[in-house]
């Protein structure tokens, strides 16, 4: 009885009761979402990062119910780009990725002091336009060095349902910001495209599926923002766990892309980030992000942002032997567990499940 009573009291005081609640949304029509950017780096130039190379893309989708998981992609739209000097480029609808439109021009890049505007016409005739955008007037100097330092990160994790403060060994990866003495603010954004090697430990090294290069769009998927007025300091980009992180048992690489954005585009990402930090009791009240797109039809809503940016990138390699303490490669150990069957990846790297594997070595990959 005593215990029951105490439980009841604690339930009230501390645990309270959180349950899902569903609002009845009043006629919220799906609206167009536009996502895309262009930069001063063309497809050809982007291969020299070094990377696979990328065309400028525009993704079109429709907003969905809050409860929905996937957005509906928009097909058969007409997407174009116009510039203040009177040029016009047409995007081509991708046959591989639904809702994706590409500017298939190997040498196109945005030029300084030229204004660009993106246009979208849907197959129902509704048309949308971005505002005039351009590469920021002040762009950073050459992208600084990528470095790392060893650190331990303390995080709360849940173990057996309980929150435990746990220490993680790893490295903080930083980029040096170049000097900036214009007095104007540079709006930086970095994002990351990791690639790592996985070798299947239980098969012959001569097999074609012994060694794979893995990419994972959801690993290191957070972007980093920074407003800068002076430069000349290292900016932390991400924390890479070392002990127990199978991605770094072999060679690990990250393409670090650095963009200088317009203030509006920067704010857009800043507010997305702010939104992602919500979900707590004392949240500030929510608000909508500001788009630079408009519809020609005043009642039609449109979301997203079209950016024109200054872009640079550096490829960074990491090896577990780069840190001062031993990091054990546990590929083999993980495939020698006393269980009924080992995971498929132990027999073919193409079955690797924590990312997208390929056994074709990228052109740009450097071993050691």
């Amino acid at each position: 009885m005593d215990k029951l009573f105490r439980s009841a009291l604690l339930f009230v005081i501390l645990i309270s009761c959180v349950e899902q609640y569903e609002f009845k949304i009043k006629n919220e029509e799906p609206a167009l979402v536009v996502e895309g950017y262009i930069s001063n780096v063309s497809y050809e130039a982007s291969k020299l990062f070094p990377a696979d190379g990328r065309y400028f893309k525009v993704r079109l989708s429709m907003t969905s119910d809050v409860a929905n998981v996937r957005d509906k992609k928009v097909k058969h739209a007409h997407v174009y780009l116009i510039s203040s000097d009177g040029s016009r480029w047409e995007y081509t609808e991708s046959s591989e990725n639904e809702g994706e439109y590409m500017l298939c021009d190997d040498n196109f890049s945005a030029k300084k002091n030229i204004l660009y505007k993106l246009g979208v016409i849907l197959d129902d005739g509704e048309s949308y336009e971005s505002g005039w955008e351009q590469i920021p007037e002040i762009v950073p100097g050459e992208m600084g060095d990528i470095r790392f330092e060893e650190t331990e990160l303390e995080k709360y994790i849940y173990r057996n349902g309980e929150k435990v403060l746990t220490s993680f060994k790893g490295v903080n990866v930083t980029v040096d910001l170049p000097s900036s003495n214009s007095g104007n603010t540079i709006y930086y954004k970095w994002d990351f495209f990791p690639t790592w090697i996985y070798k299947s430990p239980l098969i012959s090294i001569h097999r074609s599926d012994y060694k794979c290069w893995i990419e994972d769009p959801f690993y290191l998927s957070d972007y980093v923002l920074q407003k800068d007025n002076a430069g000349l300091y290292p900016k932390k980009l991400f924390f890479l766990e070392t002990v127990g992180n199978e991605r770094i048992y072999g060679r690990f690489s990250v393409l670090i892309r650095q963009m200088a954005l317009s203030k509006g585009y920067f704010t857009y990402f800043e507010e997305i980030e702010d939104q992602g930090n919500r979900g707590k009791l004392f949240d500030p009240p929510p608000y909508n992000l500001e788009t630079n797109l408009t519809s020609t039809h005043p009642d039609k809503k449109v979301f997203g942002y079209f950016g024109v940016v200054d872009e640079q990138a550096k490829r960074w390699y990491f090896d577990r032997l780069d840190v001062s303490y031993p990091v054990e490669n546990r590929w083999k150990a993980d495939c020698s567990l006393k269980v009924l069957a080992q995971p498929p990846k132990c027999y073919s790297c193409l079955s690797y499940e924590n990312g997208i594997p390929t056994n074709i070595e990228p052109d740009w990959w450097e071993d050691e």
Binding site: S16, S61, V164, S221, P284, P285
Partner: protein, 880 residues
Amino acid sequence: MTVIIASFISTTFADGLKDILVDETANGQDLIEYLNDLENTYHVDLIFTDSELEAYTIFGVGKPYKIEEFLTVFLNGYYITKINNKVLVILKKSQFGILGSSKDNFILLNNDDIKTVGLNGKIRDINTKDPIVGASVLIQSINSGTLTGDNGQFRFAVDGTVHKIEIRYIGYQSSSYIVVFSRYGVDRAAIISMFQSSTELENITIRAQGNDEIVKNQLSGIEKLNIETIKKMPTFMGEVDPIRSIITLPGVSSNGEVSSGFNVRGGEPGQNLILQDGAVIYNPTHLFGFFSAFNPDIVKNIELYKGGGPATFGGRAASVLDISLKNGNLNNHSFSGGVGLISSRFTVEGPVIEKKASYVIGGRISYSDWLIQSYDNIQLKNSAANFYDLTGKIFLFPNENNSISISGYYSYDDFQLGSDSVFSWNTKNLSVNWDHTYTDNLSGKLLLTGSNYFSHINYDGGAESFHYQNSIQNLGLKYDFLFSQIESRIYNFGFESTYALTEPGVIRPTIERGNVAETDVGNQRGLETAAFIQGNFNLTDRLGIMVGLRYSGFLRLGKDKIYEFDYSTLDGRYPVIVDSALYSNGEIIDRFGGFEPRISLRYGLNDFTTLKASYYRSIQYLHLISNTTIPSPLDYWIASGPHIEPTISDQYTIGILRDFRGTTYELSLEGFYKNIDNALDYIDGADLFLNESLEAGLAQGKGTAYGFEMQLKRNEGKLNGWLSYTYSRSLRKFSSEIATLNLNSGDYYSSGHDQPHNLSVVLNYQLDSRSSFSLNFNYKTGRPITIPVSKFSYGKILSVLNYSQRNEYRMPDYHRLDVSYTLKDKLKRNKRYMGEWVFSIYNLYGRKNAYSIYFDENGMAQKLSILGSIFPSITYNFKY
């Protein structure tokens, strides 16, 4: 003929009633004329008020009668009472009922033949002879009432010679007397002694709202709750809660489940002036809002003014909650307290110098930790929730003309959930109150106050460890004169000045080389000064008017750094800072001021129906900034200045009050309209936490609130209580040519406190002399909320949320039923120790009301219910 008889009698007999004989010579004379002659001849006073007597002619007198006998026989239907040998009163039996039948019920006072006189008096305890402070004194004939002052004194201006006076005080037997004025009276003041109820083995009958029927005749929009009434209401965990009680009144609501502040007529919690013995209470809550900050054992009275209140109050736009603490007993030591499951309280009081000085000190402490710590769960082991408070008052009564009281208050709260942050807040208040009577007509009250409120967050998380603090401190001086030559005209005038220092926020790392950067949003300083005058006039029996005028001025003072913003260039949502100006200590940065007129009218249509109307303006110079969806310890105060104008509230009310079946039932209907200029709201995407340019995150616009309030009360009988219903709206409109200040597209939207329907039912049923049952039901429309209405993915971000218009949706409606049962110890003659058990059930049907609804990153709504289950509790209260 008459003259001859009169002169004959006067020469034949001595003075005095005992010598008057009425014989057959009286036959045929007009009664009134006859009595007048007797008065002149015998130097007596034969007092009557009934004009019907004028129609009587004397007849049938045979043998001589003594005057008393004669009148008793002749005037069937009248009580004839001889008060002394000089004064005899003739009262129609229906006028005051049985009261008029006994000489003991009469109080004879001297009036020297002046037509309008002061009815002065003093109420005291029959045994201790202590003055009874705060007893209500009511004179029906002039439709006027008052509360006794610090010396137990009261004063009315009355016409005529006979008045029924009614006296009530909690814990004492109510009593009524007939006051008779005569030139043959000796006393000039009525000294009335009251009997304690318990000594008579009778149970105290508590009226649903002890004293308010007196005051209702003066002011529109005043709600008065006696602490005994509040104690009768169902409790949460056995704790009596004044704030939870006022939420049951019409026009008052709360934002969340618990009493973390309250809203009056669409106003915000920061627009309520909360005073405890004159000192400002900035956070009226304990244990994160579960309990209110006021110790129920020491609180004497609670007055809530919906609107500006009398001109003596100012500085807040929505309401004044004036809480007064009791004085310690001047004669005996006593203690009282209560033991509950997670908190207890104890109060002790008594004389320091008998009849001259007393003390009362009481404290409350929570001990919820034993529950938390004993629980075998690591997360809960790192949790804590504590509070304690200490309230004390010293009362000095050196002589009839002076009384001084010194009140102090300290409270501390902290709570920690999991092992993250410890939130804590504390209040330190001190007030000194000196009442001085200059003359019979003029008295003054000096009030010196100091209030300190600090809110902290301590976070212990390795390199991220920090300490955060915000605060407000003030020092106040007030002098308030009360002048009344006659009771129907009372003047109140004086001045007040308050210096406030606010700290909107400072954060510092608590370990060396931590990751948290030190940020200190500059302190703000302001000096608010006001002069006020008010007159309460009872022009006729039916028409009363209260007119007040207050002029308040506000100086925003340095030291401070004031930014200049350029709204044509935005950095994100914020305007760009183009310049800043540094002001030195005491330098005037900005100044504001304005008149605040207040007027309240009452007109009695008849004996049981009163019409009321009022207009109040109040100006608020300090603003509570809350940038979270629910009130939190992160809320802080800022001062008006170059970017924030004072908030101005104009409130108009009109109402009608009607009694039924005597005063058993009372129905009150009141409509209000409120216009608020320079209402504050945050801009979209505002970050008001530790932001040096926080003013740029705020917008000012128009607020409108209107509504209709109804209350039906049953004041008497075994079953008493009230039903309150309010329909009201509270809207905002912030339109501006500057995009970032144009909120919600410039359209009207619901304020965060817009809850149209609000119903409260409070019922008490006295089962027998020892036990009673209480019930409290509350229903209100859900709070407005901005919710995600759709979402999309953007790059690697899976869901970016699109929100509705501001406050376009509503949380689920709120309703809750509480019951409690109180069982008192058996009452025994001369027994000083009294105890009672209170069994209560909070949220009887276990509704999971939403305290807050928040959204995860995917936009899924999470409804947080605090007290989302049936909650029984038990408390033992005692008193010696």
